[in-house]
Assembly symmetry: C2
Homo-oligomer: 481 residues x 2
């Protein structure tokens, strides 16, 4: 596939494995830069880069004038069990709840844990703001005019270049710019399904995809999904045997909301299965670049040899959602997806495309990602720490390896819609679990956003959520008056 | 309906009627400002505003130290006849040609007559550029973040205010911002039809609508359409009697491509007919604000009393298409249209929405429109003049009262796809007529854009087009070798 780790990544990977295997314990001193460079036959600077990566990843720390030491790793939380969705295709039915959630979030000052929003206060976004201002000051006819349906060539070049990091070789001509990932998903779905068709999805699943499925008159067949490894390939095979499925839609890397990342060894097996039934895969990679460790996991698309994977992504979760710039690499379905993108919104706003292209081309995107990966891991650990401390016992918590979404299973079958209503009075918003199911399952789950963990009200909000859960449990055990 | 002309508009309207009825001829001197003010019992400044409006409209001119004089009005061209499309529902089939047209237009320097693009060189757009630059320089978290699905409140307020000019009273809460008019049309169509349904359209019809119809698996039933008054209500009634139509989609004001504007007296009749069959109307008003005379024609929506009209528009034709900001007022279909907008692109780019809202709120939009109405009328007259002069005799030409699109019927059944191919060698692009039909009709028509008539290559391009047509006619009469 032509995909390879860089040298320093290999060295870091090796060192990390030794730590994980117990060769080094918390607090242990690691070999020196010189020793590491000699051992691996690499340059001093490569060894330094390897240590730098492990520092960024929160695995080790550098103590001035002393050396590198292994940091304590947080114990993973107790994970939810593999999901057990309804084993038959269902019409999606959560649209009303969703509109409510999406259209009222800015109504007043809230501690907003419900939406998947990146940290917008990071100074690594400043060059993007500067580039946008500069471009709009000198606003050309090109920026004011329609772009091509397929999008700006500058941006498509950068997208193709970035895809190499996920093991993908795509040509800029295989990329179509979209108005956010939602348009990529929606256009892809419309390109490969017709009303009445059945689509298999991981479960829980992103509500924007589920709604696109509903609005396209398609049925969702939810597949049991493990919180670390993703959909069960065995369950998928059984489902494909039993039902006339037309497409598969997954978020296999840093999944929303469950946080799983499909292991690389599952990917060729999945593709084999899809080839057997000749099905397209819509791969939502929107959180892929936010993996905490480098190299980021490969896309399923990177294993695809016959163009059946439609890779969808955007800059909404990595940079800023308000720019509405996403993209799709539709493989063999490119003509139909292009047509769907055309009727959907004709072309994507030109200014934002050019600003992002320039931001990426000048290397700011990779710099930004380096910082955000580290920050979002810190945020995950902080929020999971608070959840463990303040939520009732037996709460189960996902343990994502990228992004900033935490999936929480409430104990005692507590209803997260009710929790959300009670939380509203304290100006706190969560995303109730039912939004992530075609059929209203996951009532006792919630998704919360951890990207804003540095704001002091977030810990306070989790304390409140914990207290409300305890109250709900206590009320149950009270005798009915 | 609470819709009224302003006082100076009434006075101007009165004066214009007298000119049209022949009370004043070309070159005649009109009454003085003082005389007009006394006659109508209005202030001096109102009389001056009335004269100003007629100057803007190209009806009269002011001669310094002398007074106001009637200008020569161009004789209207010979119009095409009422269209006679296939009288049955058809699947749309021009997608491939369209993608080709849309994706290659910027490939090299061309005289681009094929796309409907506003004049972007006008200084009245400068405040928009300045506002955008200012907003992006101080880029807030709000701009970087998702907007509401329904769009920015600031913009929805301005849209509702502007709608008053077309006789419409809509509340900001009835407005949804979209990613251009295409998303408004596409979401509306998806909200009111299902695959297999039949939609009636005017004919010729905007290709973006036709493609949305095709991609939604819906059939188009094209209704005979007059180049001045629009669809035949009699033909529509017959069609509704005969076929199980589910919706109606029209561009009734400054129609693309035919240039008709439906007379006000047709509008209640149309609504009566739609009420009889309980059908929604998708009203595309994208060129409505570009009417050459004030007040601009009323929307059909302004006559609607039971919420069946879904009004779609955008700032793409009035300001700049690259901003991708449109809107829809979906009447009783608001929930479904909102859901369709959500799955289509989630929300619309925030920066561009806020920039336009500010541009409108500060009065720049109306100032810009005043200038563009005058310019686009000048452009229409220039281009129609050249077409009359350079194209073969018996060429028929539309006579729009707004916008910048001219629909041209080639004589002798000349094929406009062939003309476009020959023109390509001269770096000229037209829009072939077949794009505007579900069924490949209008082979001997072309649509050309007149907004760039001030550029010297436009007259040269029309000279070339005329020469190519003459050549094509001559080749036919040659004996086959």
């Amino acid at each position: 596939m032509g995909f390879a780790m860089k040298l320093y990544e290999q060295v870091a990977h090796n060192l990390r494995e030794r730590i994980e295997l117990g060769y080094y314990h918390t607090g242990d001193k690691l070999p020196s830069v010189r020793a590491l460079s000699q051992e691996h036959g690499v340059s001093i600077s490569t060894a330094q880069e390897a240590f730098g990566l492990l520092i960024d990843d929160g695995v080790i720390e550098a103590r001035p004038k002393s050396g590198y030491y292994v940091l304590q790793q947080q114990a993973p939380p107790t994970l939810p069990e593999t999901s057990r969705p309804t084993p038959q295709p269902l019409a999606v039915s959560q649209g009303h709840n969703l509109l409510h959630l999406m259209n009222e979030y800015g109504a007043e000052k809230m501690t907003q844990l419900s939406l998947a929003l990146p940290d917008l206060s990071t100074p690594t976004l400043n060059p993007l703001i500067k580039i946008t201002a500069e471009l709009s000051r000198t606003m050309t006819a090109r920026i004011l005019s329609y772009d091509f349906i397929r999008g700006a060539d500058e941006l498509r070049r950068e997208v193709a270049r970035l895809a190499i990091d996920s093991g993908c070789r795509i040509h800029p001509d295989e990329v179509i710019v979209t108005t956010g990932c939602q348009e990529a998903l929606s256009s892809s779905l419309r390109a490969v399904t017709e009303p009445g068709d059945i689509v298999v999805v991981d479960s829980p699943s992103f509500f924007g995809s589920l709604q696109a499925i509903e609005m396209n008159g398609v049925k969702a067949l939810e597949i049991p999904t493990h919180p670390e490894t993703g959909i069960s390939l065995e369950a998928l095979e059984l489902a494909l045997d039993q039902w006339p499925v037309k497409a598969c839609l997954l978020t296999p890397t840093n999944n929303n909301p469950l946080g799983y990342s499909m292991p690389d060894e599952h990917k060729p097996k999945l593709l084999e299965l899809l080839a057997k039934y000749d099905l397209p895969l819509i791969e939502d990679d929107i959180y892929g670049d936010l993996s905490y460790t480098l190299p980021r996991p490969r896309t399923i698309k990177s294993f695809d040899t016959d163009g059946r994977v439609i890779l969808c992504s955007s800059f909404s979760k990595t940079l800023a959602a308000g720019l509405r710039v996403g993209w799709v690499a539709p493989g063999r379905y490119i003509d139909k997806v292009m047509m769907m993108k055309y009727v959907s919104s004709m072309s994507t706003a030109t200014l934002n495309q050019l600003a992002i292209a320039e931001f990426v081309a000048q290397g700011y995107y990779e710099k930004h990602l380096r910082k955000m990966r580290k920050n979002y891991r810190r945020d995950r650990d902080a929020v999971i720490g608070w959840l463990k401390r303040y939520m009732p016992q037996d709460t189960r918590i996902s343990y994502p390896q990228g992004g900033y979404l935490i999936w929480v299973e409430l104990p005692c079958d507590l209803d997260s819609i009710e929790l959300n209503q009670r939380a509203y009075e304290h100006r706190i918003r969560i995303a109730p679990g039912t939004l992530f199911s075609a059929s209203g399952k996951y009532k006792n789950f919630m998704r919360i956003n951890s990207s804003n963990s540095q704001e002091p009200e977030v810990e306070a909000a989790i304390i409140t959520l914990g207290r409300l859960c305890h109250e709900m449990i206590e009320e149950r055990s009270l005798p009915v008056a």
